[in-house]
Each structure stands twice: as C-alpha cells, then as structure tokens.
Amino acid sequence: MTTTTAPEHAPAHPRPVGRPETQRKKMARMGWLFSAPALIIIAAVTIFPIIYSVAMSLSNVTVTGNGFSLNGFTWSNYSLVLQNGTWHYALSFTLIYTFITVAVEVVFGTCIALVLQRLTRGRGWMMALLLIPWSMITVINAELWQYIFQGTYGVATYLFGLNNVLGTPTPAIIALMIADIWKTTPFVAIIVLSGLVMISGDLYEAAEVDGSSGWSTFWRITVPLLRPTLSLAVLFRVLQAFGLFDLPYVMTNGGPGTATTSLAILGYNAMFKNLDFGTGAAVASTTALLVLLGCLISLRAFKVQVGDQEPS
C-alpha cells in the first residue's frame, strides 16, 4: 500500500501547484503533521502504559519510596493469578454479569424501540427522558440504588417485602444488574430505534400484502435488517461491561464478601489497597488481553465500520 503503487484516482479538478505525485506526498506529510498531536498524546497515555503494564506483570515488582521498581523476569504473577480462586470467581462473575445484563438490555431495548417507533406524539420527550439515565454519573446511580435497596428503610425493601438485598450474595448481584439495566437499556433502545427508522417502510407493506403476520414480519424482516446495528451495539456493550468497576465499587464495594468483585475491582484492590502491583498488573493485563481477544474476533465488524471509503 505504498503511495507509488496505489491506484491513482484521476483528480476531478486540477491541483494548483506541482505534479500530482509531489502534491500527494506533500498532502500525506501534512496529514501526519495534523494527526501528530492527537496520536502522540494517545500513545503516551494509553499505548505506553499498556506495554508497561504487561512488563510489570512479568516482573518482580518491589514497592519503593517513590513508586515501584521492576527486578527481573518472572511468570509467578500469572501463575499466582491463574491459580487463585478469587480470580476464578471474579472472571466468572464478570462474564456472567456481562452476558446477562447485555442480553436483557438488548431485549428490553428492542422492545422500547419498537414502542417508540409506533409513537407519533411525544417521541422527542421520551428520547429526552431516556437520555437522562445514560448521561448520569455511575457513582450517583450506585448510591441511588443502594438507597432504594437499603435493608431497613429502602423503598424497594418496603414495596416488595425484600430482606437485606445488598447483604446477600445472589440478591446483591441481581440488584447490581437492575441498576445497570436501568441506566443502560435506554442507550440500547436509542441505537435500535435509529436502526428501525432506517428500515424501509415498503418492506413492511410488501410483507403485509403477502399476508405475513406481525410476529413473522418481526423475525424475518426487522431482526435481519437490524442485525448490523444490533451486533455493533452488543459488541461495544460487552467490551465495556467487561471493565465493570464504578457500580459495584460504590454500590456493594465488591461484597458481600467477594460476591460482586469484578476483574477490575480485583485488580484495583491488588494494586492500590494491597500495593501488590505485580499481581494487580497481571489481573489488569489478563483483562486487557480478553478485551483485545474480543476485539480481534470482531475485527470484521470493525472493518465494516471503517468502511470502504479507503481511497489509498
């Protein structure tokens, strides 16, 4: 994909100065110049730390007066993590939590979108209302639901006759999921609605003429045409839910016990509570690796995103 071998598109308009090739090279240089500030800052704050984090996870880390130092190569951080029951639990908790919340959000989100699509009046107001949970600080969401599920005077405890929800493992996990679903379903609904709007009305009319029932129209027309929108939303939600931290950190503090300790909380506690940076980095790196794996598996979807408008 070099400049010289790339298919040269005939310029629609004459370039002002120089031969096309010189001009092209000049433009490419300018492109890098323009992107440089952004790329440098991104590299410095994300790529460099990711590499450093991996290096840390493969070293004997000693905490010193001003930070920590890396002494020698070791696999021990990983073997420690991989054999650790808490890590196994955090991994399966994070996976199950991600799976259930995303599945519920997609189902509910699609239902809401289907309703909003039929709504002729007040759709703008509904959209506005749905955007509020999306824009809310997760910490506030966590405090709010903690209060709602509070053991003695919480409103849900009173209305539904619950008992110490946040102090019992399984109910605490469910409460956490409810808080997450409340905040994120609207976001999925808005994305799905945009996908629905793009489906041509002619298709539905044709289906009606052919005598298709509402249900089969939904499965045979709506769902297949919605798939690209839906799969991308699911992908982003899954990868994001995998970094779950704010909600359980504030709402249940990873408890009761370690019932709601996600991978991110485990890594955070290892690093900043126990000052065990090697193990923490191993937890963080494995999490990152899993996310990267998810990205690579779905690279095809990303390619669709970048699109075919790639001139050279």
Binding site: V45, L144, A284, V291
Partner: protein, 281 residues
C-alpha cells in the same frame, strides 16, 4: 392504518400509549426518588414506610452539601477538567479527523482500527503505569493529571466521529479554497469547521459527559480534597458508619442538572452520535 377513528380519551388508550406510559414510569421513578429524597430531612430519609412525598420539604441537604462537604470545590474541579479536556479533544480531534478523512496518509486503516480498540480498552489496564507516570511528573493531585488522560482516552472516539463527518463534506469545497491560495489550516478553519459543526457538537457532548462521569482515574489520581471531581467527592461523602444519603442526593441533583441540560439542548446530536455507528456507552 386500522380504519377505525377514535375520539376523545379513547385515542390514548391503546397498546402503544400504555407501553409508553410504563416505560416512562420505569425510567422516571428512580429519578423521582433521587429528587424527592434530596428534599427530605435526615429523619424522613430513614422513615419506614418511606415518604413518597417529602414532608416537611427541606433544603438543608443542599446547603450541607456545599457547606459541610465542599461540593462547590468538586463542582468547580469537574467543570475545569471537563471543559479543558473537551476543548483539547475537539482541537486535536478536528486536526486528526481531517487528516484521516482527507489526506493520502499511509496506514489510515490501521490507525483507525487501533484507535477504535484503544477507545474500548478498560482503564484498569493502564491505571497503574499511568499513576506512576503522573507521579514522576509530579502531576498527581493536579488538573493536568486528569486533563491529559481524559484528552487521550476521549480522542479516539472524537476522531472517529469527526472523520466520519468530514468524509461527508464535498471535496469541491476545500479544493475551491485551495485554489484561492488558502493554507491547509486556513481551509480547515474557515471551510471545513463550519460544515463539521454538528460533528463537533456530537464529539464535544460525548467527551464532556465522559469526563464528567469518569470515576476510576479520578479516584486514583486526584485523591486530595482540593482536586477531587464530583464522582469521587460524592463517593467519599460521609463516614464508613454513616452514609448521608440526603446530602449525596442533593449533590447528585446539582451534578445531574448541567449535563442533563446540555444533553437536552444537544439531544439531536447526542442521538446522531449514538447512531453514527461508532457507539460508546
């Protein structure tokens, strides 16, 4: 559609309106509870059965949030960090987005995919080295300690949005500018920027919201009272033994309002950002 005409209040009693009503109630109920609880007295907060309307209505929580708990400081810090980071993201993002949309750089595809993957990386993966880096720079507990990471983490998404937006602007526009002898920067500023304004709104509102709500980095990097942002401040209200929910909710209402207003004003662009394909929660 169905041929029947409905009159009077019967028009509103159909499946769609009932479902809409249920959705609205389920979405609004927790918000109602947040607002109502912020006006309760400490005694009313713990009342059982709960008060569904505050009696008496008290604004003590609001004054307490600002007087006893330094919420004003947190609010100021959040504004400074979010505004500066958003401005930087828009400046660098416009430049990079333009370059990636328009110039014949090599490796554009790789760059775009890398950016997308970076924007999805959980921040726990970078937090420890980032902490070390900022510590060595002496940037822990400072504004730049949050502004720089926030800029970096929000740039990929902004570049995506802006690049996609600029791809849609006709090339003829800038070529006209170039023929007139305008420098590339000049062309970008006076021809592309005005046309890309909706893209800038979208990128800006997403970046601002992300900075306003970010927790993990803010918690790790700025833990001194003078530099805490709202999420960290609210999370550390009270003592381990006593959670002052009333004060927390009063502060929360104040924190939700600016972003809420912003989102409502720029609703159109938020939705277009959510739906432009490059989706982020």
């Amino acid at each position: 559609m169905n041929g029947r005409k409905r009159y009077g209040w019967h028009r509103f009693i159909n499946g769609t309106y009932i479902a809409t009503f249920v959705i609205a109630v389920l979405t609004a109920a927790p918000l109602y509870w947040l607002i109502v609880s912020s006006f309760k007295t400490p005694v009313a907060m713990g009342a059982s059965p709960p008060q569904f309307f505050p009696n008496p209505v008290s604004t003590a929580n609001y004054s307490q949030a600002f007087v006893q708990y330094d919420f004003g400081i947190y609010f100021r810090n959040s504004i400074i960090v979010a505004v500066v980071a958003t401005a930087l993201v828009l400046i660098f993002g416009t430049l990079a987005g333009y370059a990636l949309a328009r110039t014949p750089m090599r490796g554009k595809f790789t760059t775009m995919v890398t950016l997308l993957i970076i924007s999805l990386f959980p921040s726990i993966a970078v937090i420890a080295p980032l902490y070390l880096l900022l510590r060595n720079l002496g940037w822990l507990n400072s504004y730049q300690g949050l502004i720089v990471p926030y800029t970096a983490f929000n740039l990929p998404f902004a570049i995506w949005i802006l690049r996609n937006y600029m791809l849609g602007i006709p090339k003829e526009m800038e070529e006209a500018g170039r023929i007139d002898g305008a420098s590339p920067l000049r062309t970008l500023w006076s021809i592309i920027m005005p046309m890309a304004l909706p893209g800038l709104f979208t990128a800006g509102i997403f970046c601002f919201t992300a900075c306003w709500t970010e927790f993990l980095m803010a918690l790790t990097i700025n833990d001194v009272n003078n530099y805490k942002t709202i999420p960290v401040g609210i999370a550390t209200f009270g003592t381990p033994l006593e959670v002052p929910y009333g004060t927390i909710f009063a502060a929360s209402v104040v924190a939700v309002v600016p972003v809420g207003i912003l989102v409502l004003i720029f609703r159109k662009w938020v939705v277009s950002g959510l739906t432009s394909g490059a989706v982020k929660g």
